[in-house]
């Protein structure tokens, strides 16, 4: 998962053609539809790569 649009695992179904209502929150706080630390870490890795400081992310 290099971008938020990439699925974290097969459980993520969000695409432009099959949109998920929780997609926006899921990018930063996800996964929302299932619990999986690995999937959460994938999102965290994207954030940590570019976040300038602890105030950078706004939920």
């Amino acid at each position: 998962m290099e971008k938020f649009i990439d699925p974290c695992c097969e459980k993520c179904t969000h695409t432009k053609d099959t949109p998920c209502k929780d997609f926006v929150e899921c990018c930063v706080e996800g996964p929302i539809c299932h619990e999986n630390q690995e999937c959460a870490d994938k999102r965290k890795a994207i954030i940590e790569k570019v976040a300038l400081d602890e105030k950078f992310v706004i939920s």
């Binding site: 938020f4 949109p19 990018c27 950078f56």
Partner: protein, 605 residues
């Protein structure tokens, strides 16, 4: 993980002063040392302080480097990135700081600013939708999609957001008109046709945070019942257009544009229309005509665009800054936060392009209600060269001139209107005591006269006649009745011109007559321009008592009109002098005097 993030200003101002070359030199330096991968380099949006560009901000250290040159990059890499020591000589220095300033909180330029619209500018990579989402982006859209259309209009109205493009019409109310207009097809249009001389607010927002505009337009689409949008941006803004195109493609990929957005019953298509740069296309009905492929000319209103807009369909038009405010308001609790800033009738912040004779030029975002004095002296650092503040032109060619006497005037829609100016889109041109107010009025009127589309007689003919009078006055051929004629023509044009541009174009003339009538009278009755701008109406003389004979003026004069021996007072040969002003710029003793034509030693005049 990167060790540090290096944000290089990639906005047009810094690009023109060499930030691309700075980025290349920095990349080369890092690559030559084999450490390129440790650092993230981003060509970001504008941090605002254009006067001291090119700018680099290094995170997480939060160090602000300015006035950079390519040759500085080796030292910056060696000392800061590798050695961990700040390069003090590259920090901000100026008369407003005691010591080199490290970051925003210690640079007076930023001290009274509040970033709402510019919240992401210079902080995120404007070409990354992921970073926009990390900063809370598209959450307001999600919330709007769950709201009733009228509830969104009410919330924006309740927040007190007024259009940032000129007239300050309440945005929520405007959306409500389109929402209530009948018909299945409606449009949202973003007016990015920024044409005021010296203004670059919209360009900087588009370049620094394009997704904020898209999100604002999508929310407006939901509120108005529209499913298609146009961004009308002048082709002279290639970087803004490039970033908008990138943002639109990303938004499509992520499902924020297209059909069934985020799984809701809401579709939206976004288009970009590049304008050819005609000033009149900033007027909404001319802009709509231009989108339709017709010649950009205004038409009478009513019907207003909310009833009959682009392609004959109900249309909401807002400007860039208005849309950029919308996501902040519509997010959870946003309206309440928004209302906390500003004045009773003008909520939120306003972005201004600060230009002219002020020391710190650049892009500033300040709370509504801040005074002119605070903007010019606290944010702007005062007048260049320590000269005296004379006036500020607010609102571009459609705005008015506010004199030194009104320096404590709060900047809000109502106060500016009472003073004869307008908020406009946010241009602030500062003038010092060497500015001739008659010449200034002539400059702005000459701009609007050239840009008049010619459709209505009052604007086409009236501005031409007014300009002819101003030209005569500045050439020493003014007549005593000219002021009354100018006033009468100006009011006729205001009352009868077809569009907002025509109706407001006499403002610079009216306000300069209102506040600087003595200068007009001096030009007309005494053949004298005290500012030394109108060439037939003054002459330069050298103050014989103070001239040290340094020959700086002799060397500067391009027509050899100054003579005199070294260490002896010099003299100007009036028949040769072209009044170019080269001598006055070079004289360190301030002994080049502006005097009436024919005067010999009448220094006081």
């Amino acid at each position: 993980m990167y060790e540090k993030h290096i944000m290089i200003c990639g906005a047009t101002g810094c690009l023109s002063s060499g930030s691309n070359q700075i980025a290349e030199a920095l990349t080369e330096e890092l690559e030559s040392r084999g450490i390129r991968d440790k650092y993230r380099l981003v060509m970001g949006g504008c941090p605002g302080f254009c006067e001291v560009g090119p700018i680099i901000v290094i995170f997480p250290d939060e160090v602000f480097y300015c006035r950079l040159k390519t040759k500085d990059m080796a030292e910056l890499v060696e000392q800061h990135l590798i050695g961990g020591e700040i390069v003090e000589r590259l920090l901000y220095k100026g008369p407003d700081v005691d010591a080199p300033a490290r970051f925003y909180d210690s640079i007076p330029f930023y001290s009274k600013q509040r970033f709402n619209v510019l919240r992401n500018s210079g902080v995120i990579d404007p070409e990354s939708i992921d970073e926009y989402i990390m900063r809370g982006g598209y959450r307001a859209l999600k919330r709007a999609l769950e709201m009733d259309s009228q509830a969104i209009c009410d919330e924006v109205k309740d927040a007190g957001l007024r259009g940032r493009g000129g007239a300050g019409f309440p945005t929520g109310m405007k959306w409500g008109f389109t929402n209530k207009a009948p018909g299945p097809k409606k449009y949202i249009v973003c007016n990015a046709d920024e044409g005021d001389p010296g203004a670059f607010m919209d360009r900087s927002i588009l370049e620094g945070d394009p997704h904020a505009i898209l999100e604002g337009m999508l929310i407006a689409g939901k509120a108005c019942g529209a499913d298609e949008g146009y961004i009308y941006c002048r082709a002279e803004y290639p970087l803004a257009i490039k970033r908008l195109r990138t943002a639109i493609e990303q938004a499509k990929e992520y499902g924020f544009l297209g059909n069934n957005i985020l799984g809701y019953d809401f579709n939206f298509k976004m288009n970009i229309k590049e304008g050819a740069g005609a000033f009149v296309c900033g007027e909404e009905t001319a802009l709509l005509a231009s989108i339709e492929g017709k010649r950009g000319m205004p038409r009478p209103r009513p019907p207003f665009p909310a009833q009959v807009g682009v392609f004959g369909k109900p249309t909401t038009i807002n400007n860039v800054e208005t849309f950029a405010n919308v996501p902040l308001i519509v997010r959870e609790g946003g309206a309440e936060e928004f209302k906390k800033v500003g004045t009773e009738g003008s909520k939120g912040t306003k972005v201004f392009a600060l230009a002219g004779k002020v020391r710190n030029t650049g892009l500033v975002e300040v709370p509504m209600g801040i005074t002119i004095e605070e903007i010019i002296f606290d944010v702007g650092g005062g007048i260049q060269g320590g000269r005296e503040f004379k006036a500020v032109q607010a609102g571009g060619p459609s705005g008015g001139c506010i004199p030194q006497d009104l320096i404590n005037l709060p900047i809000d829609y109502d106060s500016l209107t009472q003073a004869g100016a307008i908020m406009g889109s946010g241009g602030l041109v500062v003038m010092d005591d060497r500015t001739c107010m008659v010449d200034l009025a002539k400059y702005f009127l000459s701009f609007t006269q050239k840009e008049s589309c010619g459709k209505c007689t009052p604007c086409r003919e009236g501005t031409k006649r007014m300009l002819e009078i101003l030209e005569r006055i500045t050439e020493g051929e003014g007549k005593p009745e000219d002021l009354d004629t100018l006033d009468s023509l100006a009011h006729s044009i205001k009352d009868s011109a077809l569009c907002g541009l025509g109706q407001t174009c006499p403002n610079p003339v009216l306000t300069t007559i209102r506040y600087f009538r003595n200068e007009y009278e001096e030009h007309i009755n005494e053949d004298y321009c005290q500012s030394g701008i109108c060439k037939p109406l003054f002459q330069y003389l050298i103050d014989q008592d103070n001239c040290t004979g340094c020959r700086a003026c002799v060397r500067a004069c391009p027509v050899e009109a100054i003579e005199g021996e070294k260490k002896e007072p010099h003299e100007i040969i009036q028949d040769l002098c072209t009044r170019c002003g080269s001598c006055i710029e070079k004289c360190r003793q301030d002994c080049i005097l502006i005097t009436r034509v024919g005067s010999e030693a009448d220094v006081g005049n």
